[in-house]
């Protein structure tokens, strides 16, 4: 049985903001608490997007909808370009994540800032797209297509925006030298979230933009 002197920890590694120097793998599963928690949140978020995508698919191509149809309104080359930019941000995220365990904080800052900027470019593209659609007569209250499109992609955009704020916060912490190599997991967890948001966009882009619609 462990002695009193040895049992100085609450059990398992400290939470996100811990900063202890203990063995981060001292959990029963071998996955750290923070990472496991992020995986669980993402699994929950899958159902969130899943339900919106299911609603979109249910209403896709229903006849007699007012306003412009997807075929009339989508600008596939433009959205492909912004999608590509978002996917590239996953690459820079990986590079940022690779830099911090090496202790290369200069490159970490460069890559994490690039990731946030690429994400911001995607959001700018989305704002442009929304404005353009709105000018062409598609609003939330126009049709089933309008509602299910704007609410689904809007919530995805909100996820990306939260990710950008998160990455910028990490960048700011690193600028103040408050993100030491020992806390690389904070970056890893943000990275998990960021990649997830990218993967969700691949699904949304494929299902909504690329798969041809029946009828119109």
């Amino acid at each position: 049985m462990a002695t009193i002197e040895q049992t100085t920890e609450v059990g398992g590694p400290p939470a996100t903001a811990g900063g202890h120097g203990h063995d981060p793998h001292a959990t029963a599963t071998g996955v750290t608490n923070t990472k496991l928690a992020m995986w669980l949140f993402l699994s929950s978020d899958c159902l969130f997007f899943g339900a919106f995508i299911a609603a979109y698919l249910l209403y896709r191509g229903r006849a007699d909808q007012a306003g412009p149809s997807p075929k009339e309104i989508f600008d596939i080359p433009f959205t492909s370009a912004t999608s590509f930019i978002l996917l590239m941000s996953s690459l820079t995220m990986v590079l940022a994540l690779a830099a911090i365990p090496r202790g290369d904080h200069r490159r970490f800052k460069i890559w994490v800032l690039s990731t946030a900027l690429l994400g911001a470019t995607f959001i700018a593209g989305q704002i442009f797209e929304f404005t353009e659609f709105s000018r062409e007569g598609l609003h939330v209250d126009t049709s089933l297509f309008g509602s299910s499109f704007f609410i689904l992609t809007g919530f995805h955009g909100a996820h990306v925006t939260i990710g950008i704020v998160w990455l910028l916060s990490l960048w700011g912490l690193s600028m103040q030298k408050r993100l030491p190599t020992a806390q690389a997991e904070r970056v890893e967890v943000a990275g998990l979230y960021w990649h997830f948001v990218d993967v969700v966009w691949i699904v949304i882009f494929t299902v909504i933009y690329l798969v041809p619609q029946p009828g119109r």
């Binding site: 049985m1 462990a2 002695t3 009193i4 002197e5 049992t7 100085t8 920890e9 609450v10 059990g11 398992g12 400290p14 939470a15 996100t16 903001a17 811990g18 900063g19 202890h20 959990t27 029963a28 599963t29 996955v31 608490n33 496991l36 928690a37 669980l40 949140f41 699994s43 929950s44 978020d45 899958c46 159902l47 969130f48 899943g50 339900a51 919106f52 609603a55 249910l58 209403y59 229903r62 006849a63 007699d64 909808q65 007012a66 609003h139 939330v140 209250d141 126009t142 049709s143 089933l144 309008g146 509602s147 299910s148 609410i151 919530f155 916060s169 912490l173 408050r178």
Partner: protein
């Protein structure tokens, strides 16, 4: 406590973050800043009891209205508000927080951990529930005009038509949708916390198959919560945007399909039923072996049945929708899956009976409630299986038969198990025993009142009395039975009062006998530490060698299989008592979970009143709370 003072007496290595780090662990203020899973558990339980009384008062008002034909106590509008808030409160503010509260207190103790994986997230989850509850109930304020009134299920298009259409006057559905989204945030964070705690923080040797069944059931519940909550969140967002932004998700004149809402709601709603009942099953799986002085019969089968219920729970949702015309294939499939889910449930009931069978049964109050649970839940289960027979269900839909059924499983099931659990565990929490004499009065009045209230509802339902109607004509032959039901409801209220008196006198005024560490001769690790446990739970993290480890440290069997006490029994407790906790670092208190949760409140009002100022305040407060929380270290370092 001096030990904690030692642990937190330190020089902060980080700059103070506007607000000074709270240090105290005693006094009123410490409850607002605590991250101790036990204090948070007590707060969850207290909140759940308060709302149990509130929902009970709502139910009594409903029953007073229905006491006579053509009742005049309530208007139709008030009646709608009361049954909506009664259901919403019982599900989201009583059932879930009560289970989460008991689990908050006991899951770490049962797996030999010192706290949950994320103590501050734990506090945040609780304060979000408080914020959500405050938000929902603030709709009763006179100038707000927005008590939810569309039922706890909030069917569209009734709830989703814009506020100007006049389907449901006032802002009821807005308060309801936004309030439930807030409560969903709280449930999701606590579910994440439970899964990580249970999977990661088990003491050495506490393998999954040595884990107490209550912990197992909370693991299943946490996964169900994790996957069910986002689905209702989506449904609620759709209703909210339909009402406030003119979205068309459920607007038939745009081609929208109101039935989509029912699918989404029940895809959440049926797993939610298991979120409510599985903790109850877990509780009796702990109490029955202790009071029968036998191990749980078929441990692995009980665990796997629980998991099976968790899986099958996702495939039965449309049995709530048999009357909507889904077509013969769909209703046959869902009828069959509903019959199927009765199998693991029935298996569990036989396991509990097998546990009690030939045991040396101690009929304590806790045991009585647990046995009551088995009987009442079985009745509820049987009327539930009737609903899988589609033609019968079609006849029973929206009648009092359904009301009778789900009160048998949720009140006769969950609430009886909860009372059993409280009589069993509160001595550990407060170090005093509840009065057994009063407890037995509590049990028998509860059982009689419960059956008097809900059994006649089966008959009313079969006679055709519809749910959710605020009055019925005389001459339908329903009056006598309704009067009986109302009397039963008041007996339940009286019984609840007995319970509260028992808690206040025995625990609050400390009139109860001193509990000692292990008053019931328990089997699981929580009984190995002091009552109440120290802040760090265990001075030495226990090393687990078998299922029911604590029992096997106390007893062995002789050659003929008789129990023989071991002289070394109670080794853990002796160690805990002699240890002053020095050198054990517990997470420090924090105010930021409360700040962050408080930020959700103005955001909620911003959503309902479409106003920029509360939105601005909410974002500011929430953002400040989250940032300060992120930067603040979990433990204020001394070393």
């Amino acid at each position: 406590m001096t030990t904690v003072a030692d642990a937190v007496k330190s020089v902060t290595t980080h700059r103070p973050l506007v607000l000074r780090r709270p240090k105290g662990t005693t006094g009123v203020w410490s409850w607002f800043t605590t991250v101790d899973h036990k204090k948070i558990g007590i707060m969850y339980g207290t909140a759940a009891l308060v709302f149990f009384v509130v929902a009970g008062i709502e139910a009594l008002l409903i029953r007073v209205q229905l006491f006579q034909a053509n009742g005049t106590v309530l208007t139709a509008a008030q009646y709608n508000e009361l049954f909506t808030m009664h259901g919403t409160t019982m599900v989201f503010l009583v059932g879930m927080p009560m289970a989460v509260g008991i689990a908050n207190y006991f899951v770490p103790l049962m797996i030999g951990a010192r706290d949950v994986a994320f103590p501050r997230l734990n506090a945040f989850g609780f304060w979000v529930i408080v914020a959500g509850a405050t938000f929902l109930y603030s709709s009763f304020l006179p100038f707000v005009n927005g008590v939810p009134n569309g039922g706890w299920f909030g069917y569209t298009p009734l709830t989703s038509t814009p506020i100007t259409s006049g389907f449901l006057p006032g802002r009821g559905p807005d308060f309801w949708t936004v309030g439930l989204i807030m409560l969903g945030i709280g449930s999701t964070t606590s579910a994440i916390n439970f899964v990580v705690t249970i999977l990661n923080l088990r003491a050495p040797g506490m393998t999954l198959m040595r884990m107490p069944v209550f912990v197992w059931m909370m693991l299943v519940v946490a996964f169900l919560t994790l996957f069910a909550m986002p689905i209702i969140t989506v449904a609620l967002i759709m209703v909210y945007t339909d009402r406030n932004f003119g979205a068309t998700f459920f607007q038939p004149n745009f081609g929208g399909d109101p039935l989509l809402y029912q699918h989404l709601f029940w895809l959440f709603g049926h797993p939610e039923v298991y979120i409510l009942i599985l903790p109850g099953m877990g509780i009796v799986s702990e109490t029955l072996p202790v009071f029968s002085r036998k191990p749980l019969f078929g441990f692995a089968v009980v665990v796997f049945s629980g998991i099976a219920i968790g899986f099958l729970g996702w495939g039965v949702w449309a049995h709530h929708m048999f009357a909507t015309g889904l077509g013969p294939v769909a209703i046959s499939a869902f009828g069959l899956s509903t019959m199927l889910i009765a199998i693991p449930t029935g298996v569990k009931i036989f396991n509990w009976l097998g546990t009690v069978w030939k045991g040396s049964v101690h009929l304590t109050t806790s045991m009585l409630f647990s046995l009551g649970f088995i009987a009442m839940f079985t009745i509820g289960g049987l009327s539930g299986v009737l609903h899988s027979i589609v033609p019968a269900d079609t006849q029973q839909t929206d009648t009092y038969f359904v009301v009778a059924h789900f009160h048998y499983v949720l009140f006769g099931g969950l609430m009886l198990a909860v009372f059993g659990g409280l009589y069993y565990w509160l001595p550990k929490v407060f170090g005093r025993m509840l009065n057994e004499r009063l407890g037995k009065w509590n049990f028998w009045t509860m059982l009689i009142g419960f059956n008097l209230t809900f059994f006649p509802m089966h008959m009313l339902g079969l006679w055709g009395m519809p749910r959710r109607t605020y009055r019925y004509d005389s001459g339908l032959g329903w009056e006598g039975v309704n009067q009986l039901v109302t009397v039963g409801a008041f007996i339940i209220a009286f019984s609840t009062l007995l319970f509260l008196v028992n808690v206040i006198v025995s625990l609050g005024l400390k009139r109860g006998a001193v509990a000692g560490n292990d008053p019931w001769d328990g089997r699981t690790l929580e009984w190995s530490t002091t009552s109440p446990p120290p802040e760090y739970n265990f001075a030495e993290v226990p090393e687990v060698e078998s299922r029911d480890d604590w029992w096997h440290r106390k007893y062995t069997e002789d050659d003929e299989g008789r129990l023989v006490p071991l002289p070394s029994g109670g080794a853990y407790a002796a160690a805990s008592a002699s240890h002053d906790g020095h050198g054990i670092h517990m997470p420090s208190p924090s105010i930021y979970p409360l700040v962050a949760a408080a930020g959700l409140l103005p955001l909620g009002y911003a959503a309902v009143f479409m106003s920029w100022i509360p939105l601005f305040i909410g974002v500011l407060v929430l953002g400040f709370g989250v940032y300060a929380w992120g930067i603040e270290p979990a433990t204020d370092e001394a070393s």
